[in-house]
């Protein structure tokens, strides 16, 4: 499409750099500096989308981020394949560049002919909240019929179908002064704040060019220079200062606690030449000493019948398109206003060659100098007039206007033919970020707006975002907020407006659609209905009508809605309340919020020193906390069941080798170390001899089992504590907590050594034979090195802490070597152990082996509601110690109650049947539902060593019921099992103590 509406010259576009964008399959032409919105207007295309509920044709309302209507699906990199398309982009902020493929949304079969528009005809039914009143019968129809239809009709654009192909980056930054907004106030603030060369200043603006409202301004002067010349000079000055960072295309979207401001920078979407791999967006997480908010203001639409027709735009936006982008949004313009500022639009549009007239709600007497200026400039101004309605369908074709008499009655109607309407109902300061910072808003009657009141954080607002509109005052205000001062002489701005909620009309208000919220199709009558039904708080009105809840978050609609509600209730506006603003200011991609935390960087994968060997040898892994652990080592043709059967058999008959490196390890050192252990664990530690090991059980203060592990006493004042894999961090924190806060008098220090040591478990009758050749300075003989002892020496010439421990019931050693040697020692033991039948085994076999012995796994047999006694471990709970963590709780009534669940074994009647872990246990499977459950299965395995399945279970009063038959749930029903002791394997040959 050519650009019939492009002005021959002017604008802040680069005519030497033409470009093209694909719009609904057609070529749109434009220049560098354009947005998709300005290109659409240049081509004369105003119809840009269909509304949410009624599928009404919609055009472009605004030139900025408050655009509610012109929402497009954009494929940003169609040339690079899939994964670059996303919906709901505002045409007004999509920077034009070659290669963009954009499409309109929410219509079928086409933008021009949309079947959904039938909803517009049904709109008398589809009023606010209609769905609460119907669709209730028949009951089943809600899920199956009504809701699917409603869901399909709603929803605007199509979600992306394939994974996001872009990357995003993240940056934490600190500064002394963060300035949000690079309009006149923000620039002046930055100039002042950075003047000393010391303060670190960040100046961020959501647009791609600094200047704010001055970008639309071709008439104002500052100190005798054109306003944009002042902007250019100021930017150049700031650029030259090393302590200033200017971030264009950067939207401050969230103002969080303690001056933590989050901003998203659009890094590459605007660049046709962006190299592949360049981040799309960057999340800036700024911690600022002070924040200056110079976020500007939003213009209010006027509310009249059919005010949503394409071609009806905000007045300042018309001005922006004419001046900044040098495009004419039509030939015949009517400016409808209650605000002086719109006269600037009229004058500039006329100067640009549009035919212009003005309809002003205000009377002559209420107008300022703008009125005579317009009239002197040859513009017809109808003051004291209202708009009855707009004409036209897919484009406005005229306005019906009429004078309002002194008594409020509507006079004779005139139809003004036009193809563009510029409307202004005044201005609303952008207090979003201020409100997010939890500053208290104050209603200013003069300004008819909420403005920043008391600050909650180190923050100041400057310029239009606090209701300062005159250019000189704005600059002065900005400079002051930046810690300096400035008294510029600037052109006096047309300021002031008459608040007007809904334009007076003589039409039947119940029949017309005058839109408050354009995107969500909320009309004035919807708001009135809500109030009629008792929804009086603005939050109720919002939720009942959905006004202000669209993707623009009510930037253009909130004040009109509030004012209307206040008017109906005849209450002062603040009494109706203002909505609390929540992040984000404008929608932010999930990608930017995630940053690099995707794929490999989603969560760290912790690997042990032996992991590379396991991977090379075909291990199947499983995630355990952040670790990945080898689950089993299948050989050709083996499934897990077969592999585990082989691995467990090997441990019982020859020897298995297992990577236990993930176990948490803490070195506890100090003269009071034994006393500390005594207080943290349930059992006694003072008398444990150096070189001895003991199984330790740890409770929370509430008496429930928290963690367990083997602890070795390496010296009088030194313990090597092990924890569960998942429990390591919390056990460390738990210990450190008691040490620092309850017992600061103890001289004890904790150091995490989980990763200092690789741990290789050798378990099985041949364990000693495998190990012996490689050990020096340790006597492995049974007498010299009995079960549950520890020695230091060398294995394969590497320093070693050698534990004689067993989690399998077999003769066992755990070889702790410095982690960098772990793989080499493992390989050596594995290779030289071949002749002894060494077999690597994984976590699954480990679980089976320990279950065969009835050893618990914290987190599997326990669930945070289980006591030591429940586990049959009361022998580990000292009766002698006067105190330890959790002791007091053990005598609480419910902890000593009869019938608590106790750990037992379960043997299925059919020895081949393996119970489901998590299965429930009942006495009588024939009882009616709800059934009385008496327990559940915690662990269950096929045990090749036992020649049958085995299971551990927690059963009510289980230890008194050994031998009884119970019924256990299966996917299909129930199966029979007998309660047994939780020890299943009778160890033969040289065992742990042999």
């Amino acid at each position: 499409m050519s650009q019939p509406f492009r002005r021959p010259s002017g604008g802040r576009i680069d005519r030497s750099r033409p470009l093209a964008v694909t719009f609904n399959g057609k070529q749109l032409e434009g220049f560098a500096g354009d947005t998709v919105a300005s290109m659409l207007i240049a081509s004369g295309q105003h119809l840009a989308g269909r509304s949410f509920k009624y599928h009404r044709p919609r055009g472009i309302l605004s030139h900025g981020s408050d655009e509610p209507s012109a929402l497009l699906s954009v494929d940003w990199r169609a040339d690079r394949g899939a994964g670059y398309r996303d919906p709901n982009n505002r045409a007004s902020v999509v920077e034009a560049r070659d290669g963009l493929v954009v499409n309109t949304q929410n219509h079928w079969p086409s933008l021009e002919t949309d079947v959904g528009a039938v909803n517009d005809l049904l709109s008398p039914i589809f009023v606010a909240g209609f769905y609460y009143k119907t669709f209730m019968w028949p009951r089943k129809f809600w899920d199956r019929v009504y809701e699917p239809v409603i869901r399909k009709a709603a929803g605007l654009g199509e979600a992306p179908e394939v994974r996001d192909a872009d990357r995003y980056s993240n940056r934490h930054a600190h500064c002394d002064v963060l300035i949000v907004g690079a309009g006149p106030a923000g620039l002046a603030a930055a100039l002042a704040a950075s003047a000393d060369g010391e303060k670190r200043v960040i100046l961020a603006d959501e647009g791609f060019e600094p200047g704010g409202a001055l970008l639309n301004d071709v008439t104002s002067e500052i100190d005798g220079k054109p306003a944009m010349a002042w902007v250019a000079e100021t930017v150049a000055t700031l650029d030259a200062r090393e302590n200033v960072v200017i971030l264009p295309r950067t939207t401050a979207f969230g103002y969080y606690n303690h001056n933590h401001v989050c901003m998203v920078e659009r890094v590459s979407d605007h660049r046709a030449d962006a190299p592949e791999g360049l981040a799309r967006e960057r999340l800036w997480q700024v911690r600022a000493g002070e924040v200056v908010l110079a976020a500007g203001s939003h213009e209010r639409p006027l509310v009249f019948e059919n005010n949503d027709r394409p071609g009806i735009m905000l007045a300042e936006s018309v001005r922006a398109f004419v001046n900044r982008w040098a495009v004419l949004p039509g030939n015949e313009l009517v400016v409808v206003t209650s605000s002086a500022s719109a006269y600037r639009t009229a004058l500039d549009a006329k100067a640009a060659g549009m035919r212009v007239s003005i309809v002003d709600i205000r009377l002559d007497a209420d107008c300022g100098t703008e009125l005579s200026l317009a009239r002197d400039g040859g513009i017809t101004v109808r003051t004291g007039h209202t708009v009855i309605k707009a004409l036209g369908g897919k484009r406005v074709t005229g306005l019906v206007v009429a004078p309002i008499s002194a008594n409020g009655s509507i006079g004779e109607k005139t139809t003004l033919a036009c193809d563009c309407v510029a409307m202004s109902g005044g201005w609303t300061p952008s207090v979003h970020l201020f409100s997010q910072s939890r500053g208290k808003l104050r209603f200013d009657v003069e300004l008819d707006a909420f403005v920043p009141g008391t600050s909650a954080q180190a923050e100041r607002s400057a310029g239009a975002c606090r209701g300062v509109y005159d250019l000189s005052a704005v600059i002065a205000d900005g400079a002051k907020a930046g810690g300096g001062s400035s008294t510029p002489q600037a052109t006096v701005s047309f300021a002031g407006f008459q608040p007007v909620r809904v334009l007076p009309t003589d039409a039947d208000a119940t029949k017309i659609k005058a839109f408050i919220d354009f995107q969500n199709d909320v009309t004035a009558k919807d708001i009135k209905l809500a109030v009629r039904e008792g929804f009086e708080s603005i939050e109720h009105v919002k939720r009942y009508t959905t006004t202000g809840m669209a993707t623009d978050q009510g930037k253009t609609s909130n004040m009109n809605a509030l004012g209307l509600v206040a008017g109906i209730l005849d209450r002062p506006l603040p009494a109706v309340g203002t909505t609390t603003f929540r992040p984000p200011y404008t929608p932010v991609t999930f990608g930017a919020l995630i940053g690099p935390a995707r794929d490999e960087l989603f969560d760290p994968v912790r690997r042990t020193p032996i992991d590379p060997w396991a991977e090379k040898n075909g291990a199947v892994f499983e995630p355990v906390a952040l670790w990945r652990r080898a689950k089993y080592f299948p050989q050709a043709g083996e499934d897990m069941h077969a592999a585990v059967a082989r691995e467990t058999k090997a441990v019982r008959t020859t020897v298995g080798i297992f990577d236990a490196s993930t176990l948490g390890k803490i070195e506890v050192i100090g003269p009071d170390a034994a006393e500390f252990m005594n207080r943290i664990y349930t059992n006694a530690w003072l008398k444990l001899k150096t070189g001895g090991c003991r199984y330790g059980l740890m409770l929370r203060e509430d008496g429930f089992v928290y963690d367990d592990g083997v602890v070795a006493r390496l010296a009088e004042d030194r313990f090597h504590v092990t924890t569960t894999t998942g429990g390591a961090p919390r056990v460390m924190r738990h210990m450190e907590d008691y040490l620092q806060t309850e017992w600061p008098d103890l001289d004890v220090f904790l150091t995490s050594i989980t990763e200092q040591w690789a741990v290789i478990a050798l378990q099985g009758p041949n364990a000693r034979k495998v190990l012996e050749p490689f050990v020096s300075e340790i006597d492995l003989a049974e007498d010299a090195f009995p079960h549950m002892t520890v020695k230091t020496g060398y294995v394969c010439g590497v320093p070693c802490r050698l534990f004689r421990v067993s989690f399998t019931g077999e003769l066992g050693f755990e070889v702790n070597v410095p982690a960098d040697y772990g793989e080499a020692v493992w390989k050596t033991l594995y290779e030289k152990g071949q002749k002894h039948g060494i077999t690597p085994y994984g976590t699954e076999a480990m679980h089976v082996l320990r279950a065969e012995m009835g050893f618990i796994v914290v987190g599997q047999e326990t669930d945070g509601t289980v006591t030591a006694d429940d586990l049959g471990l009361s022998g580990l709970v000292s009766k002698v110690k006067t105190d330890f963590v959790g002791k007091r709780s053990l005598t609480r009534p419910d902890m000593v109650a009869e019938g608590r669940r106790q750990l037992v074994g379960l043997l299925t009647k059919n020895p081949d049947e393996v119970l489901d872990e998590g299965a429930q246990v009942v006495d009588d499977p024939g009882q009616p539902i709800p059934m009385k459950m008496i327990g559940h299965v915690t662990s269950s395995y096929a045990s090749s060593n036992c020649g049958r399945s085995i299971a551990m279970a927690m059963i009510d009063g289980g230890r008194t019921r050994i031998g009884e038959t119970v019924f256990v749930t299966t996917p299909a029903g129930f199966t029979e099992a007998v309660i047994s002791n939780a020890v299943f394997y009778d160890v033969k040959g040289e065992t742990v103590d042999a």
Binding site: R438, T741, D883, R888
Partner: protein, 102 residues
């Protein structure tokens, strides 16, 4: 994300810290001498105030120290941080609302 003034390290971001709940709940000297109800109180009952709250923080991803803080639970502004074992500072609620927490 809060900015927390660690008594040892100065102001650091919240993600380095772990909150340990209400402070100054002393573990009884001899827990076994405490009644069930009082023990239940010790374990579970909390002040949960809307206003100044004395609470424990661990600078786990920092200096590794536990310390106490006084924070306004309405504004989330910290009024004071202080070492373990020191008494709760005598501050009134008004202090908390001043925008000095940057």
């Amino acid at each position: 994300m809060l900015l927390i003034d660690c008594p040892y390290c100065g102001k650091r971001p919240e993600v380095e810290f772990h909150c340990g709940g209400e402070a100054h709940i002393a573990r009884p000297e001899m827990p076994t001498a405490v009644e069930d109800a009082d023990w239940g109180s010790f374990l579970y009952y909390r002040t949960n105030p809307k206003g100044l709250h004395a609470e424990r923080w661990l600078h786990g991803h920092g200096c590794g120290r536990w310390f106490n803080a006084l924070r306004d639970t309405v504004s989330d502004a910290f009024v004071a941080t202080y070492e373990m074992g020191k008494p709760r500072p005598d501050r009134d609620e008004a202090t908390a609302s001043s925008p000095s927490n940057a």
